[in-house]
Symmetry: C2
Subunit: 385 residues, 2 copies
């Protein structure tokens, strides 16, 4: 069994230890909810001041002089290396739901057949897929997560890599290969994985991917989302907007699509939110995503080792099968989360009876794992008295 | 002919003079581009600091403790009185393009027939309508602005109230009444009018409206947009998202739409951008929109009176027919705008050969009109030498 001393040793030898100091972490808080909303990097307040200042001084010229107009591509190019995507394949725009909608509608224009997903997908992805099915007349098939591989056939496959409830991770390379074998296009939602593990989109030939900016990317509440399109894929954005035009500032009444990833943009970028995300991504400077994944497996592994005595661990114990969170089914989960919150340990509750703890390797330490697990043990002893 | 002394008198007697001080205007600048990007109100830097602080301290709890979760409705209810809408009929979400897409697709589900618009519509609205037509198989009819009234028949009518190029204003009450007579649903884009004039959506029974947050609402670069739906209208959002669900935080895999305007939301709100818009809307506290319109007509009227000698005024001289901007077709417009910029007078250029000047009544003074017009006169004398 792992000990407190082991945890302190692991922290001392952590090759990512230097990254924690880039975050402005609340005093006395162990934040295990970065999978829901990442904390701010230290420079955020300064970035916001700079934005207010640029806006006040430059006014309309800020679009060019402060580089606002290039933000969506600049942020996209910062996200790209985290998900194994080349420059010019990712753009920051809209919300995850809107991007998923655009991606899946665009996919239906390229391939016949059903839309396949699984019941472990994030609820709002299921809502969006329902909308797409209704609008396009395609059938939406929802299978169990374990049945995805055998269910893939020609059509569109839309999956979320890491299950928000259980932390179960789909095998992205295998399912992508299976989709291609079957003549399907695949769209991955990376909201619960981008920034917590390396993802080799280009290498595996994934057609499209979307993901959110406010979880492991730490872009702040409601940070804009991103969309990736494989470089050789020719598609049509189903929602043509100002910034998906080839030359937006020509104000041409006739639509002419931009080439490449710009085509997946829509309206005016939400500059203030997006600039904060840009700054947040600097936390990844010089960070090796393989080291992030190694630490993630170790953090979640240590936590599982201790807490599996306290409840049912819903998260796969096999490291390759999980993301960077641990879900514990435990009697009184809603009270547990609330009581832990009182002592500065922040996880979250997902119905029914699941306590969920995220381990963001950029700022969570092994000693945090230890202290959180010990607090759960203590809570259990007290409540079972 | 209006004189400098008249302008100073008008400023002294301006019932809206008190509002200008709410803005953090750049020194020595006459800002006539607020119809493209409004300037910041004074409290913006403070709002941003507060946001950074709330995020750092509250983390995930900010959604409730800082009220982020209610922002879209709170901001909607601040915009509502500016456009003659009752509480609970407006929500702040997404971009104008996305909202227009949702509105027009939803309208096609309620009524048969073509989609009608005019060639003076904002280019990106035309792009979006093209997308909707393609997706739904409806025919998109694009007529001249003057032909709209006679062209309306059963179907969907989608118009922008004020033409971004010429400042020509459609007669919203008359065209709405005509649409209803013909059995059409009407969707108004208020991007170039909201905040610059009273708009009585409820009174005229307008079905839906959309608009942007960063022009006369001063919400900052890329501020989120808004959407209005008439209270009794039962429709289906074509892009179901997390926050259009009846109970988003139940994480129910089955979609159940929210009632009312919440149904038109989609993904997670862009909190940071939206909170800045919320603060910006405080500039309208205690402001009578009829006084705003009266001042707008007077400002644009004075400007037209002087500059009509210098070029072709594309904006209607009849006050009722124009919005709050004046477009001047003038030889060398692109140089004029650039040269004026050098001396702190900021308008903008729209191809071909149009110099565009916006007069936001909340912070533009009559003396600004005078000085800008005199600067154009001087430029013309110098360049014609």
């Amino acid at each position: 069994m792992i000990t407190e001393i082991d945890c302190r040793d692991l922290d001392r030898n952590d090759p990512l230890a230097f990254v924690r100091d880039r975050f402005d972490l609340a005093d006395g808080v162990i934040y295990l909810d970065g999978n829901s909303l990442g904390p701010p990097v230290r420079a955020v307040a300064e970035t916001m001041n700079g934005l207010a200042n640029d806006w006040q001084r430059m006014l309309i010229r800020g679009w060019w002089d402060a580089g606002w107009v290039d933000l969506p591509r600049r942020v996209g190019d910062l996200i790209a290396p985290l998900i194994g995507a080349g420059p010019g394949t990712v753009v920051c725009t809209d919300s995850t739901s809107i991007n998923l909608y655009k991606a899946v509608v665009a996919a239906t224009q390229l391939v016949e057949g059903d839309i396949l997903t699984d019941s472990g997908n994030f609820p709002s992805d299921l809502y969006v897929l329902g909308s797409v099915a209704e609008l396009t007349g395609r059938r939406l098939r929802i299978v169990d997560p374990e049945q995805v591989e055998e269910s893939i056939e020609a059509g569109v496959v839309s999956l979320t890599q890491v299950d928000f409830r259980t932390g179960r991770r789909h095998d992205l390379p295998a399912l992508t290969a299976r989709a291609h074998e079957a003549g399907a296009l695949i769209v991955w939602d990376l909201s619960h994985s981008a920034g917590a593990m390396p993802i080799d989109l280009d290498r595996h030939g994934v057609e499209m991917a979307v993901g959110c900016g406010y979880k492991y990317l730490n872009g702040g509440p409601g940070a804009p989302a991103f969309i990736y399109v494989r470089l050789d894929l020719e598609l049509t954005n189903p929602i043509n907007g100002w910034f998906s035009h080839r030359v937006p500032f020509d104000f041409d009444p006739a639509y002419e699509p931009a080439t490449g990833i710009d085509q997946m943009r829509s309206g005016t970028p939400h500059v203030i939110s997006m600039a904060v995300l840009e700054m947040a991504l600097s936390a990844f400077d010089g960070v090796d995503m393989r080291a992030v994944r190694a630490k993630s497996e170790a953090l979640t592994g240590a936590f599982i080792e201790i807490v599996s005595d306290f409840g049912e661990v819903l998260t796969p114990t096999e490291p390759a099968l999980r993301g960077s969170q641990v879900s514990l089914r435990i009697e009184g989960a809603v009270d547990l989360i609330s009581d832990l919150h009182q002592i500065g340990i922040i996880g979250d509750y997902r119905p029914p009876n699941v306590a969920r703890f995220g381990f963001a390797p950029l700022y969570i330490r092994y000693i945090d794992v230890w202290n959180a697990a010990m607090a759960i043990r203590e809570w259990r002893q007290e409540t079972s008295r």
